[in-house]
């Protein structure tokens, strides 16, 4: 039977209709206040009940925010902190797969402060279980730039290694050919994309830019910071985008628009092996993730850093709730 999908996207507020979560996952810290965005909003809803809350705490920050956690007006039956003290590989998969989550469970996932490759892995687990989680994302009030220039944005520090995201290895050969195309979802970091391109060595590139930017003052940053891809020494492999531009545009806030764009590009380049590197906003990455889950020939690569940036978003704005709803 073919599954059909409708999308669900709304602002999370006191009118939220979900009262009980069997499982809720978040990363909570005091570097980015918006890591608490979804839970705070849920606090405003009366009688919200979370049976199991999992906090991924890879930087061992939870103890510092425990007091704040205890102030949440949410009934939480069990709290699990997943950290690296008992360091294992595949810690995310291991911790979730050990839970034996029911297919009918109501699951919430706040991706705001969870690094993109990590939430890709989490969603892969849920996909394997047949679960469609409610996904939450809180927009930043502003972004953190260490200096007053666009190139000072830094979501990843130091050395990076480009790897396939676990569970998204795609294919090596397509219709007898191994030519690859890399879909670059542009972000603000100005020196990362070339490293990814050199590692993946695709024959062709597609540039995708989020639009509109969260704030008018940022509208050109991703283009300026990716000038090498768009007009520099990587531009010779850039594919034509929309309306004679060498770029596609995707709604920054809407994962479903990203999903649709992936569908369009998949059709256009269906004779190539397709890779995607989801820099850019989390909602866009979410749409890419969902598409890749459903089309396992899509490979997702990501620049894994030694360290993520300290906190790239400042304060909190809207919290959104998304779901890719399978009807079958």
């Amino acid at each position: 039977m073919n599954n059909k999908y409708l999308f669900h996207m709304q602002r999370l507020d006191a009118n939220n209709s979900i009262n009980t979560y069997d499982l809720f996952i978040a990363t909570l810290n005091n570097r980015e206040q918006r890591s608490w965005g979804a839970l705070r909003k849920l606090s405003e809803v009366k009688h919200v009940h979370i049976k199991t809350l999992i906090v991924f705490d890879f930087k061992n920050e939870f103890d510092a925010v425990r007091q704040e956690y205890e102030k949440l007006e949410i009934r939480i039956d069990e709290l699990f902190i997943v950290d690296k003290r008992n360091s294992k590989h595949d810690i995310i998969q291991d911790s979730l797969l050990s839970l034996n989550i029911s297919k009918n469970a109501t699951v919430g996932l706040d991706v705001t402060s969870i690094p993109t490759p990590h939430f890709f892995v989490i969603l892969r687990v849920f996909y394997q279980y047949g679960i469609d989680p409610y996904i939450y994302y809180t927009e930043p009030q502003d972004y953190a730039f260490t200096e007053a220039i666009s190139s000072s944005y830094c979501s990843m520090k130091g050395p990076i290694t480009t790897k396939e995201v676990a569970g998204y290895s795609g294919v090596t050969v397509n219709q007898g050919k191994s030519n690859r195309i890399l879909i670059c979802i542009l972000g603000f970091d100005d020196d990362i994309m070339p490293t990814v391109i050199d590692a993946a060595a695709p024959e062709k590139l597609v540039a995708v830019n989020g639009f509109p930017s969260y704030y008018p003052k940022y509208k050109d940053f991703s283009q300026i910071n990716n000038i090498r891809i768009l007009a520099g020494n990587y531009a010779d492999r850039l594919e034509q985008g929309e309306s004679s531009r060498r770029m596609y545009y995707v709604d920054t806030r809407n994962p479903f628009d990203a999903y649709n764009l992936m569908s369009l590009l998949d059709s256009k380049y269906n004779d190539m092996c397709i890779d995607v590197v989801p820099m850019g906003t989390k909602p866009v990455a979410l749409g890419v993730c969902q598409y890749a889950l459903e089309h396992d020939y899509i490979r997702v690569v990501f620049p894994f850093p030694d360290k993520y940036g300290e906190g790239v978003g400042k304060a909190s704005k809207e919290t959104w709730e998304f779901m890719f709803n399978r009807l079958g």
């Binding site: 520090k157 050395p159 676990a166 993946a200 490979r299």
Partner: protein, 671 residues
Amino acid sequence: MSLEDTYRNPFSDYNANTMNIKQVVEYWENPFNTYLAEISEEDIKWSKSPIVFTGGRGSGKTHVFKYFGIDAMKQRAETNNRNIYDAVIDEKYIGIYIRFDGPQLQNMQKTKVEEEQWIIIFTHYFELVIAESFLTSVYDLLCAKSEPDRAKMNTVVQKYEELFHVEKQDTDIEKRYKNLVNTLGEDINYVAHFKSRAAFGNKDFKPREIYVPGQLSNTIIDIFNAECFPDLDINYLLLIDEYENFLDYQQTVINSYLKFYNKFAYRIGMRPYGFHSYATVSENEFIKEGRDYRECTLVTSLIGKKELGGSFFEFLKKLAEKRLRSISYFANKDLTDIKKILGNKEDYVCEAQEIVKGKKTHFDEYIKEIKKEYKKNNIEYTITDEQMKKLEDDTNPLYEVQNLHLLLKPNTYDYVLKAFNDYKNGIDSKEAQKYKNDYLNKYKLSYVFILCSIYKVKYKKYYGFTDYAFLSSGFVGTFIELCRNAFQRAYYNDSDQPFSKIISSDIQTLAAKDVANQEFKQINRISNIGDNLLVLTRNIGTQFRKRHTDKRIRYPETNQFAVKGIETREAQKYISAAIQWSVFQQKKDLQQESIGKSDVIIYTLNRVYSPIFQISVRTRGGFNESYSYDDIIKMATEDTSNIEVSEPEKTIETEDDYHQLSIEEYLSDYE
């Protein structure tokens, strides 16, 4: 025809990964006949022994490999109206190019699968990739025999179907062949799917067949050759690129192929120090250079010096000519000599004039130093303003700096004046000869750096074919990128009549800076160690910069360093990584650390960074900075830019001292 129709940047498409096969052939300039004379094309085609090519990003490895691949051979045959089958008979080799990408290989580890199982999986995968690539590559050969022989093709297909355990599904031979290739493709994709599943608990590896070492790779050639070239000794090359991407255990597997299996002649491309392992699957067997493989570097550190076949300069010039000729805008105007577009070499006098703009601030700065020097040597400073005026030359500030420099040494005023006047007036005296030698052969560029420092000019200019060739640091890709950037800027600067004159030195300098900054920024992102390498490079570059702004010019154009003392693993880790990623380059042979000192290994920074540190792109020899291994560790972990450069033990003074050294890259056509 409009400009838009005829103009395209001739230096775009510089990455061989993205070039189409026509460009691979069209842009090919043979390095083995010029600056890489240690190996010949014939060696590459016909040697049965494995050959390892080392070179960093931009060294041309991929281009070389693709050129020797069968697709390029087909392209050449087509251009010459020849049948590919006949071309193989003439050339007596078939090259199969394979590139395994890093992200794919990185994920073939852990995820609760034991390494022993990964070895089996990877070997199986390796066999499949070789087989699939081989079948895809030779299909045209099977169809292109001068006398079509369906029976022979049928025999090949049948034998491959038996080898791969694929059922005959059609009577049509082409369809059966395609089915073979598709089946192998699906088998390869099974491994990718396994990787995805294994990370989430499903570790069952149950492919259609599991292939062991040599099972396919040893047999596919025999089957094909027996039918297509039965009486010929065709050399089958397996060109494996980016060997450094393989994990340790993966290299162990492939090393075993190099040592034990010789149906293919292996050609391996990798960065320096790309071997993570020399082991093989046999516990007591290792591969060793000389015995099991031959190594050849694709990068020369001798930019200007002529090798047996020619110099890197000549190579770049010819390569540029090919690219320019391929664009009608340049071909139609007969603008195919890159030296005519970039200029040949720098004009230091003109640069100096632009820096000083008629001012004499350099006199003030030097007089302060001269007075200090005289006081130190208990000499009374009695030079009057009028006397100083005789050392001026409004047409050439570099003469002025030379005169001041000579006074600072210290030399007497009378000596300096005589030397200057004799030189200018063409009088053949000993003083004039020394003056000429100092000016032309030793210090001229150094004076420009001094003026930049005194007048606080933000950027020294880098322009001209010679500078660009040196900035490339032996990497063809860097030269092409410099040109691409300069041409792009020149075109946008004057899109009505681009290239009607030499691209301005300002534009070329901007291009050089831009490329330098891009390359420098990428250091930070080098896997595992980038942040340390960035700090290390910055610290060493800063030390070189200080030498360049030394008014005494004790060590002109210092841009090399030695590391000596008791080696530590941590320091060596930084040095090896820096070489692997082409941040440093190691000189081929041992050289004197400095005059009168013992021979050591000498390193340079990649010259592309020169605009960042405002240092010379050439190498003058004589003095090299010297660090201990502990210094390297310190410089990789702390900012040492405030540390003063050490006082010299001896200043290089005499012409004889200089001529005793082996001065590399000394340009005979420079002056």
